[in-house]
Protein backbone atom coordinates (compact mmCIF):
# COMPACT_ATOMS: atom_id res chain seq x y z
CA UNK A 1 0.00 0.00 0.00
CA UNK A 2 2.70 2.44 1.05
CA UNK A 3 4.81 1.39 -1.88
CA UNK A 4 1.87 2.16 -4.09
CA UNK A 5 1.46 5.64 -2.66
CA UNK A 6 5.18 6.30 -3.02
CA UNK A 7 5.06 5.37 -6.64
CA UNK A 8 2.03 7.51 -7.16
CA UNK A 9 3.73 10.47 -5.56
CA UNK A 10 6.85 9.90 -7.60
CA UNK A 11 4.80 9.69 -10.72
CA UNK A 12 3.16 12.96 -9.78
CA UNK A 13 6.57 14.45 -9.08
CA UNK A 14 7.98 13.32 -12.35
CA UNK A 15 5.06 14.24 -14.52
CA UNK A 16 4.48 17.50 -12.71
CA UNK A 17 8.07 18.39 -13.44
CA UNK A 18 7.91 17.01 -16.91
CA UNK A 19 5.12 19.32 -17.90
CA UNK A 20 7.49 22.20 -17.27
CA UNK A 21 10.83 20.89 -18.51
CA UNK A 22 11.18 18.38 -21.26
CA UNK A 23 9.11 15.33 -21.95
CA UNK A 24 11.85 12.91 -22.90
CA UNK A 25 13.96 13.69 -19.85
CA UNK A 26 11.20 13.18 -17.39
CA UNK A 27 10.77 9.45 -17.41
CA UNK A 28 14.38 8.36 -17.11
CA UNK A 29 16.33 10.01 -14.31
CA UNK A 30 14.51 8.11 -11.61
CA UNK A 31 15.53 4.84 -13.18
CA UNK A 32 18.98 6.08 -14.02
CA UNK A 33 19.40 7.38 -10.49
CA UNK A 34 18.16 4.17 -9.00
CA UNK A 35 20.48 2.09 -11.13
CA UNK A 36 23.43 4.35 -10.52
CA UNK A 37 22.97 4.04 -6.79
CA UNK A 38 22.39 0.34 -6.58
CA UNK A 39 25.50 -0.75 -8.52
CA UNK A 40 28.45 1.59 -8.21
CA UNK A 41 31.17 -0.30 -10.00
CA UNK A 42 34.73 0.90 -9.60
CA UNK A 43 34.85 2.21 -13.13
CA UNK A 44 31.55 4.04 -12.77
CA UNK A 45 32.59 5.41 -9.41
CA UNK A 46 35.76 6.90 -10.83
CA UNK A 47 33.76 8.16 -13.80
CA UNK A 48 31.32 9.88 -11.43
CA UNK A 49 34.16 11.42 -9.42
CA UNK A 50 35.85 12.42 -12.66
CA UNK A 51 32.74 14.16 -13.89
CA UNK A 52 32.60 16.07 -10.63
CA UNK A 53 36.20 17.29 -10.62
CA UNK A 54 36.71 20.99 -10.95
CA UNK A 55 39.09 20.51 -13.85
CA UNK A 56 36.42 18.70 -15.88
CA UNK A 57 33.73 21.18 -14.99
CA UNK A 58 35.74 24.24 -15.94
CA UNK A 59 35.46 23.01 -19.53
CA UNK A 60 32.13 21.20 -19.25
CA UNK A 61 30.01 23.31 -16.96
CA UNK A 62 26.80 21.84 -15.58
CA UNK A 63 24.11 22.03 -18.23
CA UNK A 64 20.54 23.01 -17.54
CA UNK A 65 19.61 19.37 -17.95
CA UNK A 66 22.13 18.23 -15.37
CA UNK A 67 20.91 20.84 -12.94
CA UNK A 68 17.34 19.76 -13.47
CA UNK A 69 18.38 16.12 -13.03
CA UNK A 70 20.21 16.86 -9.81
CA UNK A 71 17.22 18.76 -8.61
CA UNK A 72 14.84 16.01 -9.52
CA UNK A 73 17.03 13.35 -7.94
CA UNK A 74 17.13 15.32 -4.69
CA UNK A 75 13.37 15.69 -4.85
CA UNK A 76 12.75 12.02 -5.47
CA UNK A 77 15.06 11.05 -2.64
CA UNK A 78 13.22 13.34 -0.22
CA UNK A 79 9.80 12.25 -1.32
CA UNK A 80 10.80 8.61 -0.94
CA UNK A 81 12.15 9.27 2.55
CA UNK A 82 8.99 11.14 3.54
CA UNK A 83 6.73 8.48 2.14
CA UNK A 84 8.58 5.57 3.68
CA UNK A 85 8.28 7.34 7.02
CA UNK A 86 4.54 7.70 6.65
CA UNK A 87 4.73 11.46 5.96
CA UNK A 88 2.38 11.41 3.02
CA UNK A 89 1.36 14.97 3.65
CA UNK A 90 4.99 16.00 3.99
CA UNK A 91 5.77 14.31 0.70
CA UNK A 92 2.93 16.17 -0.98
CA UNK A 93 4.26 19.41 0.45
CA UNK A 94 7.72 18.70 -0.93
CA UNK A 95 6.38 18.10 -4.38
CA UNK A 96 4.19 21.17 -4.26
CA UNK A 97 7.04 23.35 -3.04
CA UNK A 98 9.46 21.88 -5.51
CA UNK A 99 7.26 22.53 -8.49
CA UNK A 100 6.38 25.94 -7.24
CA UNK A 101 9.05 28.24 -5.94
CA UNK A 102 12.04 26.07 -6.70
CA UNK A 103 11.09 24.96 -10.16
CA UNK A 104 10.49 28.62 -10.84
CA UNK A 105 14.16 29.24 -10.08
CA UNK A 106 15.19 26.85 -12.79
CA UNK A 107 12.67 28.35 -15.16
CA UNK A 108 14.01 31.77 -14.37
CA UNK A 109 17.52 30.62 -15.19
CA UNK A 110 16.34 29.38 -18.53
CA UNK A 111 14.36 32.51 -19.20
CA UNK A 112 17.18 34.86 -18.29
CA UNK A 113 19.55 33.16 -20.68
CA UNK A 114 16.99 33.06 -23.44
CA UNK A 115 16.00 36.68 -22.95
CA UNK A 116 19.59 37.85 -22.91
CA UNK A 117 20.23 35.92 -26.09
CA UNK A 118 17.04 37.17 -27.69
CA UNK A 119 18.06 40.70 -26.80
CA UNK A 120 21.20 40.06 -28.77
CA UNK A 121 23.28 41.37 -25.91
CA UNK A 122 26.47 39.58 -24.99
CA UNK A 123 28.46 41.38 -22.31
CA UNK A 124 31.95 41.96 -23.76
CA UNK A 125 33.81 40.21 -20.96
CA UNK A 126 31.47 37.28 -20.58
CA UNK A 127 33.02 33.82 -20.53
CA UNK A 128 31.41 30.40 -20.75
CA UNK A 129 30.22 29.45 -17.23
CA UNK A 130 33.03 26.99 -16.46
CA UNK A 131 35.80 29.30 -17.59
CA UNK A 132 34.02 32.13 -15.84
CA UNK A 133 34.35 30.22 -12.56
CA UNK A 134 37.99 29.55 -13.35
CA UNK A 135 38.59 33.23 -14.01
CA UNK A 136 36.82 34.21 -10.78
CA UNK A 137 39.05 31.85 -8.83
CA UNK A 138 42.00 33.72 -10.32
CA UNK A 139 40.33 36.97 -9.25
CA UNK A 140 40.00 35.56 -5.73
CA UNK A 141 43.65 34.57 -5.70
CA UNK A 142 44.50 38.04 -6.98
CA UNK A 143 42.60 39.69 -4.14
CA UNK A 144 44.40 37.48 -1.63
CA UNK A 145 47.73 38.40 -3.23
CA UNK A 146 46.91 42.10 -2.95
CA UNK A 147 45.80 41.63 0.66
CA UNK A 148 48.89 39.71 1.78
CA UNK A 149 51.68 41.02 -0.40
CA UNK A 150 50.52 44.58 -0.96
CA UNK A 151 48.72 45.08 2.36
CA UNK A 152 45.46 46.11 0.64
CA UNK A 153 42.87 46.21 3.50
CA UNK A 154 43.72 42.59 4.32
CA UNK A 155 41.09 42.29 7.05
CA UNK A 156 38.37 42.39 4.43
CA UNK A 157 40.04 41.56 1.14
CA UNK A 158 41.56 38.29 2.35
CA UNK A 159 38.18 36.82 3.41
CA UNK A 160 36.47 38.33 0.34
CA UNK A 161 39.04 36.75 -1.96
CA UNK A 162 38.73 33.44 -0.19
CA UNK A 163 34.95 33.63 -0.38
CA UNK A 164 35.22 34.32 -4.12
CA UNK A 165 37.27 31.15 -4.59
CA UNK A 166 34.92 29.00 -2.51
CA UNK A 167 31.86 30.34 -4.32
CA UNK A 168 33.20 29.58 -7.76
CA UNK A 169 34.24 26.00 -7.16
CA UNK A 170 32.24 23.96 -9.65
CA UNK A 171 29.84 21.36 -8.22
CA UNK A 172 30.60 22.30 -4.60
CA UNK A 173 27.58 24.59 -4.23
CA UNK A 174 29.13 26.45 -1.29
CA UNK A 175 26.88 29.49 -1.83
CA UNK A 176 23.98 27.62 -3.41
CA UNK A 177 20.49 27.84 -1.98
CA UNK A 178 18.77 24.84 -0.41
CA UNK A 179 17.66 21.86 -2.49
CA UNK A 180 14.64 19.78 -1.45
CA UNK A 181 15.58 17.93 1.72
CA UNK A 182 19.14 19.22 1.70
CA UNK A 183 20.75 22.16 3.43
CA UNK A 184 22.13 25.08 1.47
CA UNK A 185 25.84 25.76 1.13
CA UNK A 186 27.24 27.39 4.23
CA UNK A 187 28.08 30.70 2.56
CA UNK A 188 24.44 30.97 1.55
CA UNK A 189 23.59 31.11 5.26
CA UNK A 190 26.29 33.66 5.98
CA UNK A 191 24.90 35.88 3.23
CA UNK A 192 21.19 35.60 4.00
CA UNK A 193 21.53 35.69 7.78
CA UNK A 194 24.19 38.35 7.99
CA UNK A 195 24.18 40.55 4.93
CA UNK A 196 20.65 40.45 3.55
CA UNK A 197 19.36 41.24 7.05
CA UNK A 198 21.85 44.09 7.40
CA UNK A 199 23.11 42.68 10.70
CA UNK A 200 26.80 42.15 9.82
CA UNK A 201 27.60 45.60 8.43
CA UNK A 202 25.73 47.19 11.33
CA UNK A 203 27.69 45.21 13.92
CA UNK A 204 30.92 46.19 12.19
CA UNK A 205 29.79 49.80 12.29
CA UNK A 206 29.16 49.44 16.04
CA UNK A 207 32.72 48.18 16.47
CA UNK A 208 34.04 51.05 14.35
CA UNK A 209 32.13 53.45 16.59
CA UNK A 210 33.74 51.90 19.64
CA UNK A 211 37.16 52.46 18.07
CA UNK A 212 36.54 56.02 16.90
CA UNK A 213 37.52 59.14 18.82
CA UNK A 214 35.32 62.07 17.86
CA UNK A 215 37.42 64.38 20.06
CA UNK A 216 39.24 66.10 17.17
CA UNK A 217 35.91 66.89 15.53
CA UNK A 218 34.46 68.24 18.78
CA UNK A 219 37.56 70.38 19.24
CA UNK A 220 37.11 71.96 15.84
CA UNK A 221 33.48 71.51 14.76
CA UNK A 222 33.68 73.47 11.54
CA UNK A 223 35.93 70.82 9.97
CA UNK A 224 32.71 68.80 9.70
CA UNK A 225 32.01 70.82 6.56
CA UNK A 226 34.96 69.14 4.90
CA UNK A 227 33.40 65.78 5.69
CA UNK A 228 30.30 67.03 3.89
CA UNK A 229 32.08 68.37 0.83
CA UNK A 230 33.96 65.14 0.24
CA UNK A 231 30.65 63.30 -0.26
CA UNK A 232 30.36 65.14 -3.57
CA UNK A 233 32.18 62.21 -5.14
CA UNK A 234 29.25 59.94 -4.24
CA UNK A 235 26.78 61.92 -6.26
CA UNK A 236 29.06 62.57 -9.21
CA UNK A 237 29.64 58.84 -9.49
CA UNK A 238 25.88 58.31 -9.25
CA UNK A 239 25.39 60.80 -12.06
CA UNK A 240 28.09 59.09 -14.09
CA UNK A 241 26.41 55.73 -13.63
CA UNK A 242 23.09 57.17 -14.79
CA UNK A 243 24.83 58.56 -17.85
CA UNK A 244 26.11 55.17 -18.95
CA UNK A 245 23.30 54.50 -21.35
CA UNK A 246 21.12 52.21 -19.34
CA UNK A 247 23.94 50.04 -18.07
CA UNK A 248 22.82 50.74 -14.51
CA UNK A 249 19.40 51.26 -12.96
CA UNK A 250 18.91 54.11 -10.52
CA UNK A 251 19.29 51.66 -7.59
CA UNK A 252 22.55 50.40 -9.05
CA UNK A 253 23.78 53.96 -9.57
CA UNK A 254 23.07 54.87 -5.95
CA UNK A 255 24.89 51.77 -4.71
CA UNK A 256 27.86 52.49 -6.95
CA UNK A 257 28.02 56.13 -5.89
CA UNK A 258 28.42 55.15 -2.25
CA UNK A 259 31.87 53.73 -3.07
CA UNK A 260 32.85 57.40 -2.95
CA UNK A 261 31.92 57.36 0.73
CA UNK A 262 35.14 55.40 1.32
CA UNK A 263 33.44 53.49 4.06
CA UNK A 264 33.13 49.71 3.81
CA UNK A 265 30.19 48.88 6.08
CA UNK A 266 28.10 51.74 4.66
CA UNK A 267 28.80 50.59 1.11
CA UNK A 268 27.93 46.97 1.89
CA UNK A 269 24.79 47.94 3.80
CA UNK A 270 23.48 50.17 1.02
CA UNK A 271 24.43 47.81 -1.80
CA UNK A 272 22.76 44.86 -0.06
CA UNK A 273 19.54 46.87 0.02
CA UNK A 274 19.61 48.56 -3.37
CA UNK A 275 21.62 46.35 -5.66
CA UNK A 276 22.57 42.94 -4.26
CA UNK A 277 23.79 41.74 -7.67
CA UNK A 278 26.50 44.37 -7.70
CA UNK A 279 27.40 43.96 -4.04
CA UNK A 280 30.54 41.95 -4.69
CA UNK A 281 32.01 44.36 -7.23
CA UNK A 282 31.07 47.39 -5.13
CA UNK A 283 32.66 46.03 -1.97
CA UNK A 284 35.82 45.05 -3.82
CA UNK A 285 36.06 48.48 -5.42
CA UNK A 286 35.41 50.27 -2.13
CA UNK A 287 38.03 48.38 -0.16
CA UNK A 288 40.58 48.44 -2.99
CA UNK A 289 40.36 52.20 -3.40
CA UNK A 290 40.49 52.65 0.36
CA UNK A 291 43.73 50.70 0.29
CA UNK A 292 44.94 52.87 -2.58
CA UNK A 293 44.23 56.16 -0.82
CA UNK A 294 47.98 56.76 -0.21
CA UNK A 295 48.51 56.47 -3.97
CA UNK A 296 45.37 58.18 -5.30
CA UNK A 297 45.25 61.22 -3.07
CA UNK A 298 48.75 62.79 -2.93
CA UNK A 299 48.97 63.86 -6.61
CA UNK A 300 45.56 65.52 -6.39
CA UNK A 301 46.54 67.17 -3.12
CA UNK A 302 49.74 68.55 -4.61
CA UNK A 303 48.00 69.71 -7.77
CA UNK A 304 45.28 71.67 -6.01
CA UNK A 305 47.37 73.35 -3.29
CA UNK A 306 50.41 75.59 -3.21
CA UNK A 307 53.47 74.63 -1.19
CA UNK A 308 52.72 77.50 1.17
CA UNK A 309 49.22 76.26 1.83
CA UNK A 310 50.55 72.76 2.50
CA UNK A 311 52.99 74.17 5.01
CA UNK A 312 50.34 75.92 7.10
CA UNK A 313 50.63 74.98 10.76
CA UNK A 314 47.23 74.83 12.43
CA UNK A 315 46.34 76.07 15.88
CA UNK A 316 46.54 73.39 18.53
CA UNK A 317 43.22 71.65 19.27
CA UNK A 318 41.46 72.54 22.51
CA UNK A 319 40.86 69.98 25.21
CA UNK A 320 37.49 68.22 24.94
CA UNK A 321 35.81 67.15 28.17
CA UNK A 322 34.62 63.64 28.86
CA UNK A 323 31.01 64.80 29.18
CA UNK A 324 31.06 66.41 25.74
CA UNK A 325 32.30 63.14 24.31
CA UNK A 326 29.55 61.17 26.04
CA UNK A 327 26.84 63.57 24.89
CA UNK A 328 28.10 63.69 21.29
CA UNK A 329 26.85 60.25 20.10
CA UNK A 330 23.40 60.95 21.55
CA UNK A 331 23.40 64.39 19.90
CA UNK A 332 24.15 62.88 16.49
CA UNK A 333 21.53 60.17 16.96
CA UNK A 334 18.84 62.66 17.98
CA UNK A 335 19.66 64.93 15.06
CA UNK A 336 19.51 61.99 12.72
CA UNK A 337 16.20 60.67 14.01
CA UNK A 338 14.67 64.11 13.80
CA UNK A 339 15.85 64.76 10.26
CA UNK A 340 16.65 61.54 8.45
CA UNK A 341 15.21 58.39 10.02
CA UNK A 342 16.37 56.26 7.08
CA UNK A 343 19.98 56.81 8.17
CA UNK A 344 19.37 55.76 11.79
CA UNK A 345 20.33 52.10 11.49
CA UNK A 346 23.83 53.08 10.34
CA UNK A 347 24.25 56.22 12.44
CA UNK A 348 22.58 54.54 15.41
CA UNK A 349 24.92 51.57 15.55
CA UNK A 350 27.98 53.78 14.99
CA UNK A 351 26.90 55.97 17.87
CA UNK A 352 25.99 53.03 20.12
CA UNK A 353 29.55 51.78 19.76
CA UNK A 354 30.92 55.24 20.48
CA UNK A 355 28.64 55.73 23.49
CA UNK A 356 29.75 52.38 24.92
CA UNK A 357 33.35 53.52 24.56
CA UNK A 358 33.02 57.05 25.88
CA UNK A 359 30.66 56.30 28.75
CA UNK A 360 33.34 54.01 30.28
CA UNK A 361 30.63 52.24 32.32
CA UNK A 362 30.37 49.29 29.95
CA UNK A 363 34.03 48.79 29.12
CA UNK A 364 33.64 45.05 28.81
CA UNK A 365 30.97 45.47 26.14
CA UNK A 366 33.03 48.09 24.34
CA UNK A 367 36.11 45.86 24.38
CA UNK A 368 34.17 42.96 22.96
CA UNK A 369 32.59 45.15 20.28
CA UNK A 370 36.08 46.27 19.23
CA UNK A 371 37.64 42.82 19.32
CA UNK A 372 35.94 39.42 19.44
CA UNK A 373 32.64 40.58 17.94
CA UNK A 374 34.00 42.72 15.12
CA UNK A 375 36.57 40.05 14.24
CA UNK A 376 34.00 37.26 14.10
CA UNK A 377 31.69 39.37 12.00
CA UNK A 378 34.53 40.51 9.73
CA UNK A 379 35.45 36.93 8.84
CA UNK A 380 31.85 36.01 8.09
CA UNK A 381 31.07 39.27 6.30
CA UNK A 382 34.14 38.94 4.10
CA UNK A 383 33.23 35.40 3.11
CA UNK A 384 29.61 36.41 2.50
CA UNK A 385 30.60 39.34 0.31
CA UNK A 386 32.97 37.07 -1.58
CA UNK A 387 30.06 34.72 -2.16
CA UNK A 388 28.51 37.40 -4.37
CA UNK A 389 31.49 37.34 -6.72
CA UNK A 390 29.94 34.97 -9.23
CA UNK A 391 31.41 35.10 -12.71
CA UNK A 392 28.26 36.32 -14.45
CA UNK A 393 27.96 39.16 -11.94
CA UNK A 394 31.59 40.22 -11.91
CA UNK A 395 33.15 39.46 -15.28
CA UNK A 396 31.17 41.95 -17.28
CA UNK A 397 31.25 45.48 -18.47
CA UNK A 398 29.34 46.66 -15.40
CA UNK A 399 32.32 45.85 -13.18
CA UNK A 400 34.57 47.95 -15.41
CA UNK A 401 32.06 50.75 -15.05
CA UNK A 402 31.99 50.31 -11.28
CA UNK A 403 35.77 50.40 -11.04
CA UNK A 404 35.97 53.53 -13.19
CA UNK A 405 33.14 55.28 -11.37
CA UNK A 406 34.55 54.33 -7.96
CA UNK A 407 37.93 55.78 -8.84
CA UNK A 408 36.22 58.91 -10.11
CA UNK A 409 34.26 59.18 -6.89
CA UNK A 410 37.44 59.02 -4.80
CA UNK A 411 39.19 61.59 -6.95
CA UNK A 412 36.28 64.02 -6.96
CA UNK A 413 35.59 63.56 -3.26
CA UNK A 414 39.23 64.30 -2.50
CA UNK A 415 39.22 67.36 -4.72
CA UNK A 416 35.93 68.67 -3.30
CA UNK A 417 37.26 68.36 0.24
CA UNK A 418 40.50 70.14 -0.67
CA UNK A 419 38.76 72.97 -2.48
CA UNK A 420 36.34 73.66 0.34
CA UNK A 421 39.29 73.62 2.77
CA UNK A 422 41.06 76.19 0.58
CA UNK A 423 37.96 78.35 0.62
CA UNK A 424 37.54 77.99 4.37
CA UNK A 425 41.20 78.90 4.86
CA UNK A 426 40.56 82.15 3.04
CA UNK A 427 37.41 82.98 4.98
CA UNK A 428 38.34 81.81 8.46
CA UNK A 429 40.28 83.79 11.06
CA UNK A 430 42.27 80.70 12.22
CA UNK A 431 44.32 79.26 9.41
CA UNK A 432 43.21 75.94 7.91
CA UNK A 433 45.64 73.75 6.04
CA UNK A 434 43.78 72.69 2.86
CA UNK A 435 45.39 69.25 3.07
CA UNK A 436 42.98 68.23 5.82
CA UNK A 437 40.14 68.58 3.31
CA UNK A 438 41.09 65.39 1.50
CA UNK A 439 40.63 63.46 4.74
CA UNK A 440 36.90 64.22 4.49
CA UNK A 441 36.36 61.19 2.25
CA UNK A 442 36.76 59.05 5.40
CA UNK A 443 38.86 55.92 4.74
CA UNK A 444 39.66 56.21 8.44
CA UNK A 445 42.49 56.58 9.40
CA UNK A 446 44.36 56.21 6.12
CA UNK A 447 43.24 59.52 4.60
CA UNK A 448 44.17 61.45 7.73
CA UNK A 449 47.61 59.89 7.67
CA UNK A 450 48.03 60.88 4.05
CA UNK A 451 47.20 64.50 4.96
CA UNK A 452 49.78 64.32 7.72
CA UNK A 453 52.43 62.85 5.42
CA UNK A 454 51.93 65.34 2.59
CA UNK A 455 51.94 68.13 5.16
CA UNK A 456 55.24 66.95 6.61
CA UNK A 457 56.81 66.98 3.15
CA UNK A 458 56.05 70.67 2.83
CA UNK A 459 56.98 71.55 6.39
CA UNK A 460 58.75 69.09 8.71
CA UNK A 461 57.18 70.82 11.74
CA UNK A 462 53.65 70.41 10.43
CA UNK A 463 51.75 67.67 12.25
CA UNK A 464 48.30 67.52 10.68
CA UNK A 465 47.19 64.09 11.88
CA UNK A 466 44.88 65.19 14.69
CA UNK A 467 43.53 68.10 12.64
CA UNK A 468 42.75 65.74 9.77
CA UNK A 469 40.96 63.29 12.08
CA UNK A 470 38.11 65.82 12.41
CA UNK A 471 37.06 65.80 8.75
CA UNK A 472 37.98 62.13 8.62
CA UNK A 473 35.38 61.06 11.19
CA UNK A 474 32.91 63.65 9.92
CA UNK A 475 33.22 61.94 6.56
CA UNK A 476 31.95 58.71 8.11
CA UNK A 477 28.85 60.50 9.34
CA UNK A 478 28.56 62.31 6.01
CA UNK A 479 28.50 59.16 3.94
CA UNK A 480 26.03 57.49 6.31
CA UNK A 481 23.78 60.53 5.81
CA UNK A 482 24.18 60.26 2.04
CA UNK A 483 23.29 56.57 2.28
CA UNK A 484 20.19 57.52 4.26
CA UNK A 485 19.08 59.99 1.60
CA UNK A 486 19.58 57.40 -1.13
CA UNK A 487 17.66 54.78 0.87
CA UNK A 488 14.79 57.18 1.44
CA UNK A 489 14.53 58.34 -2.19
CA UNK A 490 15.65 55.32 -4.18
CA UNK A 491 15.18 52.29 -1.88
Amino acid sequence: MKKFITMGLLAAAIFGGAARVQAEDACCPAEKGAKAESHISIAKGFQKLGRETGIYRFFNPQTKEEKADAYRAALIKTVEAETSAGHFHGAMNQIHKAHGVEQALLDQLTLQVEEAEAAGYVPPASLPPGLGQFAMILVGLGLIFLAIKKGFEPLLLLPIGFGAILTNIPMAGISAGPMPGQPAGFLYYFYTVGVESGVFPLLIFMGVGAMTDFGPLLANPKTALLGAAAQFGIFIALLGAMAMGGLFSIEDAAAIGIIGGADGPTAIFLASRLSPNLLGAIAVAAYSYMALVPIIQPPIMRALTTKEERGIVMKQLRHVTKTEKIVFPLLVLVLCLLLLPSATPLIGMLMLGNLMKESTVVDRLSDTAQNALINIVTIMLGLAVGSKLAADKFLNVQTLGILALGLGAFVIGTAAGLLLAKLMNKMSKDQINPLIGSAGVSAVPMAARVSNKVGLEANPQNFLLMHAMGPNVAGVIGSAVAAGVLLALVG
Binding site: P221, L225, G227, F235, E324
Partner: protein, 75 residues
Protein backbone atom coordinates in the same frame (compact mmCIF):
# COMPACT_ATOMS: atom_id res chain seq x y z
CA UNK B 1 18.30 62.34 -20.60
CA UNK B 2 15.60 61.75 -18.07
CA UNK B 3 17.92 59.39 -16.20
CA UNK B 4 20.51 62.16 -16.02
CA UNK B 5 17.86 64.54 -14.68
CA UNK B 6 17.00 62.05 -11.98
CA UNK B 7 20.66 61.72 -11.08
CA UNK B 8 21.08 65.47 -10.92
CA UNK B 9 18.00 65.76 -8.74
CA UNK B 10 19.42 63.16 -6.36
CA UNK B 11 22.71 65.04 -6.31
CA UNK B 12 21.13 68.35 -5.39
CA UNK B 13 18.92 66.83 -2.71
CA UNK B 14 21.68 64.58 -1.41
CA UNK B 15 24.41 67.20 -1.12
CA UNK B 16 21.95 69.68 0.37
CA UNK B 17 20.92 67.16 3.00
CA UNK B 18 24.48 66.15 3.80
CA UNK B 19 25.53 69.77 4.21
CA UNK B 20 22.38 70.64 6.16
CA UNK B 21 22.95 67.73 8.49
CA UNK B 22 26.57 68.55 9.15
CA UNK B 23 25.90 72.27 9.52
CA UNK B 24 23.26 71.48 12.12
CA UNK B 25 25.74 69.13 13.76
CA UNK B 26 28.28 71.97 13.91
CA UNK B 27 25.67 74.17 15.56
CA UNK B 28 24.87 71.39 17.99
CA UNK B 29 28.54 70.77 18.79
CA UNK B 30 29.14 74.45 19.36
CA UNK B 31 26.08 74.69 21.59
CA UNK B 32 27.19 71.63 23.49
CA UNK B 33 30.68 73.06 23.92
CA UNK B 34 29.20 76.35 25.14
CA UNK B 35 26.85 74.61 27.52
CA UNK B 36 29.48 72.43 29.09
CA UNK B 37 31.88 75.37 29.34
CA UNK B 38 29.25 77.44 31.12
CA UNK B 39 28.18 74.66 33.45
CA UNK B 40 31.59 73.04 33.81
CA UNK B 41 31.25 73.03 37.59
CA UNK B 42 28.29 70.63 37.30
CA UNK B 43 30.29 68.11 35.31
CA UNK B 44 33.57 67.49 37.10
CA UNK B 45 35.95 65.87 34.62
CA UNK B 46 36.42 62.61 36.47
CA UNK B 47 32.82 62.09 37.62
CA UNK B 48 31.80 59.27 35.29
CA UNK B 49 35.04 57.40 35.92
CA UNK B 50 34.40 57.64 39.65
CA UNK B 51 30.83 56.44 39.17
CA UNK B 52 32.16 53.41 37.39
CA UNK B 53 33.73 51.71 40.36
CA UNK B 54 30.53 50.82 42.27
CA UNK B 55 28.92 49.63 39.04
CA UNK B 56 31.68 47.18 38.22
CA UNK B 57 30.46 43.70 39.00
CA UNK B 58 33.71 42.53 40.53
CA UNK B 59 33.40 41.75 44.19
CA UNK B 60 36.96 40.48 44.43
CA UNK B 61 38.34 43.64 45.99
CA UNK B 62 35.78 43.66 48.75
CA UNK B 63 36.17 39.94 49.24
CA UNK B 64 39.91 40.40 49.51
CA UNK B 65 39.38 43.09 52.16
CA UNK B 66 36.96 40.87 54.03
CA UNK B 67 39.29 37.89 53.91
CA UNK B 68 42.20 39.99 55.04
CA UNK B 69 40.14 41.22 57.95
CA UNK B 70 39.10 37.69 58.82
CA UNK B 71 42.67 36.46 58.71
CA UNK B 72 43.82 39.41 60.76
CA UNK B 73 41.25 38.55 63.40
CA UNK B 74 42.12 34.88 63.33
CA UNK B 75 45.87 35.30 63.27
Amino acid sequence: MELLMQGATLMVIGMATVFAFLVLLIVAMNSSAGFFKKFAHLFPEEAPAAKKAPAAADPSAEIAVALAAIRAKRG
